[in-house]
Amino acid sequence: MAHGFKKTRKGIVGRFEAPEVQLLQKLFSDVAETLEPQARPDEDPLAAMVGIDQDASEPTDPALKRLLPGASTDPERAEEFRRLTDRSLREAKIGALKASSFALESDPVTLTVEQAQDFARSLNDIRLVLATRLDITTSEDAERVGEQVDFAAVEDIHDYMAVVYNFVSWLQESLMNALLKTL
């Protein structure tokens, strides 16, 4: 069983069992894949380079919509903001997810504050995706899902996702407590 993250003199340290590393790496890579911008043959390479995506529009996938939320209640302003930031936001998230996956290769996992911040964002992004798959839209939903913490009681994919969600939440909480001690 994982021990969670702790602040030590060497950095923020976490110990994991091999199946936990595999699970987290799978989740990091799944979310990174979801975020990958769709390359188009007619795309303006210059615009792409500076992070502008003229065709960026609000995602239809609810998980992606939560990872890339609208920046304004005014739809026109939200759309303009999205065109200017969508690509760089996706790339920043993918970068953090890949770095976090790589950090799990060492045992124990030892993070600098900056790496720990990336790890925290990545765990948060995993949770946002799992939460939309689990239909968590209210705090009552969150409480209901929060009760499922026993792998032995898993009967279907929904139960499994709920247990994984709670594991990632617990891990992120330990990481945030460690990070708060660095401030």
């Binding site: 500076v50 304004s72 303009e80 930031t85 925290a120 939460a131 969150a142 945030m176």
Partner: protein, 100 residues
Amino acid sequence: MSAAPAETPVLTRNPETRTMLNVPWNVVVWDDPVNLMSYVVYVFRSYFGYSDAKARTLMLEVHHKGRSIVASGTLEEAETHVSALHGYGLWATYERADHS
């Protein structure tokens, strides 16, 4: 080598937006049942440099009232903050301070 101005995105702003540059803008964070309280407090403290007390007050306001104005400034500043907060996975928007 010479550097091209990095200001291209500004060209796409409409004139209406430009004339409002001096109007203060608010950055709003919205509640959601997923983000951990500890995470939101950490983001407010580390990104904005707020004290623990201020970060907690804002976090609780988001939690209980559904939204909270976490920063104010020029349009550019508000956009930068919203972009950063989206990077952290928080649900943030920006609006004019006189927004009714």
